[in-house]
């Protein structure tokens, strides 16, 4: 598939999935119900306007944000198995959130997103402190994976020693769009001013694919491109995770799948990955809400169910 054919197709998918998310759920609505529901006073106003519609926008933003971060990280680390997870950002955010929930259980959960955001950014700063600006991609990846494992073990330690609050923590850690609405969307949206800057790095990320020496010779400083790309990826991931919890594998699968479809030129790859990520999360959330109504599965479990085999398949294919 070429990039020219990918974009109309993906936009159509995005529209269809959004519509499906409005129509289906614990109760199925008609197109007429949805139209009515957009206005105050109608019977379905709560379901459509307060519940389903903001979730769709949130799924699109979070899916696109995590996928873009993944594409940036894969471009920087030059490894298709890389994702924002290898930087330890999601786990850092998770640790901060679990810590907050166990030690400040009386405190308002209203501050949870801010705490998780700070945790994610702190995790990235620790990585930066350990690696410095001039480290190679592979050192960054290995240090990041080690740190992620360390944060994960801290999470386990907290959850095992403080079993009382384990339920809330578990719920948050699987990543879900449940109960999120317009306030979360408002909190997340400002972070997307970073997207144009990320797209502006396309040309430089392309050159980075040729290796550091060639990039240098083409007048591009690999260190600066890496630093900028990772900073944007960290900020977007932390922002997304702070709102929805860590949604596993999306940052890995979406850009990788997209690279197969549109190729590795970042001018196409970055925006196309965003669309793929948005579609995948919309599909996961649709499945989460409709597989066993009225029970809701966390979308993070569904992305993991698809993502984990994909990851294994990738590993097996690597020579």
């Amino acid at each position: 598939m070429t990039a020219q054919r990918f974009f109309p197709f993906a936009l159509l998918m995005l529209f269809a999935l959004s519509l499906a998310n409005l129509l289906f759920g614990a109760v199925s609505l008609s197109l007429h119900d949805i139209w009515q529901g957009l206005f105050v006073g109608s019977e379905q106003h709560f379901t459509v306007y307060e519940y389903r519609l903001p979730r769709i926008f949130l799924a699109i933003l979070v899916g696109a944000g995590l996928a873009l971060s993944g594409a940036l990280v894969q471009g920087v680390i030059r490894n298709p198995l890389a994702s924002p997870d290898v930087l330890g950002v999601s786990h850092g955010a998770g640790l901060a959130a679990v810590f907050y929930m166990t030690y400040f259980s009386g405190a308002s959960t209203e501050w949870l997103p801010e705490v998780a955001l700070a945790g994610g950014i702190c995790a990235a700063l620790v990585l930066w402190y350990l690696c410095g600006t001039h480290s190679s991609a592979i050192k960054l990846a290995i240090t990041g994976v080690a740190l992620a494992a360390f944060w994960a073990s801290c999470i386990d330690f907290l959850m095992l020693t403080k079993p009382l609050e384990i339920n809330n923590a578990l719920l948050w850690l699987t990543g879900s769009l449940w109960g999120r609405s317009w306030p979360q969307l408002q909190a997340l949206l400002p972070w997307f001013v970073l997207v144009p800057f990320a797209l502006g790095l396309s040309k430089y990320l392309n050159v980075l694919d040729l290796g550091d020496d060639s990039a240098n010779s083409l007048g591009v400083s690999p260190q600066s491109v890496r630093l900028l790309s990772l900073a944007i990826a960290v900020a977007l991931t932390a922002a997304c995770v702070s709102v929805c919890g860590p949604i596993g594998f999306l940052g890995l699968v979406a850009p990788h799948l997209t690279r197969k479809l549109v190729g590795g030129r970042h001018q196409s790859l970055l925006p196309a990955s965003m669309l793929t990520g948005a579609c995948l999360l919309l599909a996961a959330d649709l499945a989460a809400r409709t597989l066993a109504p009225p029970i809701e599965l966390p979308a993070g479990i569904l992305t993991a169910i698809i993502g984990a085999p994909y990851f294994l398949w990738l590993l097996l294919r690597m020579k």
């Binding site: 040309k203 392309n206 040729l210 010779s217 083409l218 007048g219 690279r259 190729g263 590795g264």
Partner: protein, 256 residues
């Protein structure tokens, strides 16, 4: 336009490899950097390509300190073909060659008509035009090397640096590459390459620079440089010098 070293020392992690070298590389020539392993030939090339900084002394480009020269301008004047190249995923041959135009393109990297023409021309010149829609990751080693050469040529620089370009190639591809470089040199490009094979250097290049233990030992035409004395001194090798029966250039034959 010329590249030179002035009391230049280069090395890694505080360990000096190239020692206080003074060297001016002549313009418009096909130059080979020769010497035994660890003599500093690749290190010197890496310093000229600004991959390594000068530890002391200076490298000069057009009379200015090379390491303070504006990066974007330098990218239009001096290109490098590294020894090993990564294999990018999902990149077509024509895309990779077009990346060589990045010093000339704008913010979004969009190619102008002229850029397209140069990319096409360089693919034709290196025999990679037929491969243009294939993925770089699916090519053979020899094909990939030619694609990278096309990319570096698309950078359209008067100077070209190559780090042991023939080391991992089959002999037929080696010959092909040397012929291509010779042709480029005839078109006016200055070519500076690190080589391992002395006879290959003497046959195709017209200026040899011989180093040993980080110091410049000899430089000049193959006729002047490739002598029994030089081979004895630099490589500790007893060898006779004969004429290459095909090209008439000097050629060393090792004695028992």
């Amino acid at each position: 336009m010329s590249l030179s070293a002035h009391q230049l020392s280069v090395g890694y992690h505080g360990h000096t490899i190239v020692k206080k070298m003074d060297l001016t590389l002549p313009d418009g020539r096909f130059i080979a950097l020769l010497g035994p392993n660890g003599c500093g030939k690749s290190t010197l090339l890496k310093c000229f390509a600004r991959i390594l900084p000068a530890m002391s002394g200076e490298a000069h480009w057009q009379g200015q300190n090379l390491h303070h020269y504006p990066s974007k301008q330098l990218a239009k004047e001096l290109a490098l073909l590294p020894q090993t190249q990564p294999i990018p995923e999902g990149i077509k041959v024509k895309d990779l060659v077009a990346y060589g135009r990045s010093p000339y393109t704008g913010f979004w990297g969009k190619l102008s008509t002229q850029d397209h023409q140069i990319v096409e021309q360089m693919m034709k010149q290196t025999g990679t035009y037929e491969l243009r829609d294939q993925l770089v990751s699916e090519l053979s080693g020899g094909q990939r090397q030619r694609v990278w050469l096309a990319m570096v040529l698309a950078q359209d620089t008067p100077y070209l640096l190559l780090d042991e370009p023939t080391t991992y190639m089959d002999i037929n591809h080696q010959v092909e590459l040397m012929h291509q470089l010779q042709a480029l040199n005839k078109q006016g490009k200055t070519i500076i390459t690190v080589l391992h094979d002395i006879n290959q250097a003497a046959r195709y290049c017209d200026h040899l620079v011989v180093m040993k233990a980080g110091e410049l030992k000899y430089q000049g035409s193959p006729e002047d440089v490739l002598t029994s004395t030089m081979l004895k001194e630099v490589f500790s090798l007893n060898a006779q010098i004969h004429r290459d029966p095909v090209s008439g250039t000097p050629m060393c034959v090792v004695e028992d």
